[in-house]
């Protein structure tokens, strides 16, 4: 039945179309072909002008209508550092192309109208004009050169990698964020695409993502994290990406199966995810989600219920979130790889990390099982921290500050190892044995301590840090051999620290003491927990 109707309709359409054609041909013959031809020509010539006006009006009208929708326009400001730079380039390009678009269209349709056929005229013979042609080759060439220059500057800015001497952070130091230039130190987060989801990973307190291996992937170990690498111990698998405002973020993007693309539209962040080859995208959020919502709340189109079915529910601006999507066709669920990106203040971020730490995949799924390479370690630093935190929470002291404040970095000193105490991981290039994780963590801790104590003693800090690092490395080395030599090594470290400190300004003394304490703690630690 349905087919019958369809066929009938098709025949009907056919007949109508043919009739329209025929009738017009017939009418033309009646009126005289010449006149019909002339009338038709005039009509189409006029339509050229109508179309020109209509088209330009359509272009302008739709631009106005869609103004509040487009990123970089209207309410949709761009909350990253490189976003507005690219938008500027976009607008420069729009300026030039807009001029060309309008002029060429006016000329095209105007000439078509103006030079419509007339019996009394023969067309002019104008085969070419060298001067004109040189001009209109040169002008686009110059414009393109301008666009290339601006474009490449913006591109190389946007795609530059993180600062070579920047450090990967877990916690951030409150007050160090910079929404104009980004920060030298950065947070490296991992994003792995799979059909059809993103697995997001925070490096934890050590700031370092642990190694992963696709052959280790299981139903629960979705990334194939290699837990022999102690950097994995504190890595957190996230439901949503949490980032501090003003701090440079480096996304390390990869894929488990097919190509995906890590796309955060509002941030102008986009990079393919490729199996077997990590890619990177560096960016710095300049607004928190809350700030962005506040900003949106000023615009009437955002002051409507987010869900039209629920008029009393949250407003659109209240429900706003930055979203992570996939922008490379990856199969039938490609359109559904959604994750939320939440930008928060530094304090909130640190507090969040405090809490999130306990959700480390290793702690919850691997610790204590047969797969745990650190089974022999009764207590890991991370466990100790979590326990302490819980204890504090159980009986909050009045002095307790829930969120860390400037100067009081939440990285508690004397926690050199995230569990890599076995020291069996990777040799450092210095020849001493240790893990890079360990070194950096210690370095971090010491550095922040010293920072808080002194402003001017940078040199001291560096030498102190180095000293302690050497010390700790040596210590680890020693532990591997024998407990005795460990003591010696740590003593050495303390000595070195002292030496370094003695050559420094007064204020730095404080810091050195702390460093010394730390070295002492290292020693304690190592002694308390012999292999």
């Amino acid at each position: 039945m349905m087919y019958l109707i369809a066929i009938l309709i098709a025949i009907l359409v056919f007949v109508i179309v043919v009739q329209i054609g025929k009738v017009n041909e017939l009418a033309a013959r009646l009126r005289g072909e010449e006149k019909a031809e002339h009338d038709g020509n005039e009509w189409n010539a006029r339509m050229m002008l109508v179309f020109l006006v209509g088209f330009l009006a359509f272009a302008v009208g739709t631009s106005v209508y869609y103004y509040p929708y487009m990123l970089g326009y209207g309410p949709n400001i761009l909350p990253t550092i490189h976003g507005p730079q690219i938008m500027q380039l976009f607008n420069i390009t729009l300026f030039f192309t807009g001029i060309v678009f309008v002029i060429t269209h006016i000329l095209l349709f105007w000439f078509a109208y103006r030079y419509r056929n007339s019996k009394d005229r023969v067309a002019e013979f104008i085969p070419h004009d060298n001067k004109l042609e040189i001009i209109w080759t040169a002008i686009p060439a110059v414009v393109m050169a301008i666009l290339v220059v601006f474009g490449l500057v913006a591109w190389n800015d946007a795609m530059s990698d993180v600062d070579a001497d920047g450090e990967a952070l877990g916690y951030v130091k409150v007050g160090t964020g910079d929404v104009e230039n980004g920060t030298k130190n950065y947070i490296e987060i991992g994003a792995t695409g799979l059909q059809f989801n993103w697995i997001l990973r925070h490096p934890g307190r050590d700031g370092l993502l642990g190694t992963k291996n696709w052959q280790l992937i299981t139903g629960s170990n979705q990334l194939g994290q290699d837990f022999k690498d102690s950097k994995n111990i504190d890595d957190i698998i996230l439901d949503e990406l949490v980032l501090p405002k003003g701090h440079t973020v480096r996304a390390r993007i990869s894929s488990r199966d097919v190509l995906h693309n890590f796309d955060i539209p509002h941030f102008f962040v986009k990079m393919d995810a490729i199996p077997g080859m990590p890619t990177y995208f560096k960016f710095t959020p300049t607004m928190t989600t809350e700030e962005y919502r506040d900003h949106l709340s000023q615009f009437p189109e955002w002051q409507v219920p987010a869900d039209p079915e629920e008029p009393d529910g949250p407003q659109r601006w209240e429900a706003f979130n930055f979203e992570l999507a996939c922008a490379e066709l990856c199969g039938k669920g490609h359109y559904s790889m959604r994750k939320i990106v939440r930008v928060v203040t530094e304090e909130e971020y640190n507090a969040w990390l405090d809490q999130a730490e306990s959700t480390s995949f290793y702690l919850n799924e691997i610790r204590g099982t047969d797969d745990d390479p650190f089974l022999s370690r009764p207590t890991l630093q991370i466990e100790k921290r979590i326990r302490e935190r819980e204890a504090k929470k159980a009986k909050p002291a009045p002095s307790d500050v829930p969120a860390p404040t400037p100067g009081d970095t939440p990285a508690p000193e004397g926690q050199p190892l995230e569990g890599g105490e076995t020291g069996s991981i990777q040799p450092l290039n210095s020849g001493t044995v240790g893990t890079s994780t360990t070194t950096t963590t210690v370095g971090n801790a010491v550095q922040s301590t010293v920072n808080s104590a002194t402003i001017t003693g940078t040199n001291v800090v560096n030498s102190a840090t180095e000293a302690v690092q050497t010390g700790v490395n040596t210590a680890i080395n020693a532990v591997n051999n024998a407990a005795n030599s460990a003591t010696n090594a740590v003593n050495n470290a303390v000595e070195t620290t002292k030496e370094a400190a003695s050559s420094a300004a007064d204020k730095a003394g404080d810091a050195i003491d702390k460093a010394k304490d730390k070295a002492g703690e290292v020693k304690d630690n190592l002694l308390n927990n012999p292999k």
Binding site: V13, V17, N24, E33, E34, N44, A45, M47, T62, S63, Y66, Y69, M70, G72, I86, F90, T93, T97, F101, T104, H105, F109, A112, Y115, R116, N117, K119, V122, E124, F125, I126, P127, H128, L132, E133, P140, G151, L152, W155, Q195, W214, G224, D257, V258, L259, N261, P265, H266, F268, K270, M271, I274, P275, G276, E323, L329, G331, H334, Y335, R338
Partner: protein
Amino acid sequence: MADLKHNDGLLVEEYADYLYDGFHDHHHGDKYQTGFISHYIFSMDHKMIAKQFLITGMFWGLIGGLMSLVFRLQLGFPEASMAWLKPLLGKWITISEATGVGTLDPQFYYALVTMHGTILVFFVLTAGLSGTFSNLLIPLQLGARDMASPFMNMLSYWFFFLAGAVMFASLFLNTGPFSGGWTAYPPLSALPQASSGSAGGMTLWILSLVLFVVSVLLGGINYITTVLNLRTKGMSLWRMPLTIWAFFVTAILGLLSFPVLASGFFLVMCDRGLNTSFFLNEIYVGGQALEQVGGSPILYQHLFWFLGHPEVYIIILPAMGLVSEVLAVNARKPIFGYHAMVYSIMAIGFLSFIVWAHHMFMAGVNPFISNIFVIFTLIIAVPSAVKVFNWISTLYGGNIRFNPGMLFAIGFVSLFISGGLTGIFLGNSAIDIPMHDTYFVVAHFHIVMGVAAFFGMFAGVYHWFPKMYGRFMNDTLGKIHFWGTMIGAYAVFWPMHYIGMAGVPRRYYSFSTFDFSNQFAATNEFITIAAIITFGFQVIFVINFFYSIFYGKKQTTRNPYGATTLEWTTAINPGHGNWPGGIPAVHRWAYDYGKMGEEFIPQVEPVSEKEKEFDEAHPH
């Protein structure tokens, strides 16, 4: 039409002076290809092969267009029931027990998108466009009896036909046709575990396209050889119409780039069947870690786009050639800046080989490399701009007849401007960060390539229909077709710029998973309705086409448009060999319109003394 063509009606006797006997040994009574099969099916006549390409292309155009309507329905009316499509699509429509609402399977949505892209890019706009008009016009406009190798020419069509048949068969596979996008990036395209379309569907897809590459190469070699060797007396390269220049450069591009595509496909086949890992590395899929390591998916992208970018010019250059010719004939003016036009075709052709990585700015290639590709990409805009300015200047001072061919040619220029300008945004890698793989790109390439190339094709079909069938297509229907398509195409694709600028990625089955894309329900509805209406106008074209073959207004004069080129010196229905007796010799370029007060001077007319003086005064 009479007043517009007061110079027509050149009869064969009038040409008698101009014919020369280049091919005297090649006399043929018409015993040649008289049987039905040898005439209509396994024909070796370039004109018949051209028609075969055209009609096959139209068939695929309709199929590809209908596919797009189905997925547009999904986007425009995501809530509406598709149960009525169940009889056609079968298991790809799931009907909910509870509500009776039929939904389109996302897997099939992606299959439709993929087939739509593949079919339109390769079967319609490559074979249907370049195949049709290179075949029709190269011998006719150059004064050749046929292609250099009519047999290879026939093979070229039949390989194309086979490619189509294989692709068509893949539509009916249980696992569905290939669904990984027309670019077929591995690993998705290499792993059946990752997508059911990558099983048998992909095998047939590759087989089909390899057959297609063979077709393009057979055709291309023929076009090049014919242009280089079979030009009639006096037809120097610099006297060739721009159509021929465009087909010539197109064929060279195809010859150089399609083999690279084929090599990419072979490597994918190896990865699929022979456990190699050219493109696979550290993959965990279907609950299993693959053993294949060490390959790079990016390598495939280089191979693909080394074809892919020239391919877009393989599509647009013939359209440019047709448009140049139609504009000049109907403006009754020489094409402005003929030499500049030829050089810009060459420049575009050359540059199109060194810009491919602009499709890969965000693909994880070293950002430094992109710098170089940005520079070359934006340089391409210069010859493109020159062409646009020259087309516009061709209209200046003309005496324009708005027949459907001309209308589509003017529309082409508008579309090429609109779409080319967005290319300048995308070519700047920094802007490509937010725009890559969004609807902005969809808008860009549909306007500049999809619709514009169709306009070039329509201009060609309306203009040369009399040369193919000895009749005219209906003028009124042609004009309705034009205005409907012009307005409709912009209505469909213009708003997509804004969707893209809001950050919405392309190839999304549903807009409602994300907040940032969920604001475009009304826009999508509008686009879908516009697409359906625009498709309706194409139906008018198809009806007009087939109706006119049999019942169109008869062509009564040889040269109805008062054109200068050689194809209009042949009989109204030229037989095999094109010119009975001798072949016309050529004495001038193809664009003597309005010269010295003459409406037009055909290429076959010798240059008079008076004219020589004129030429010295106005060198071109």
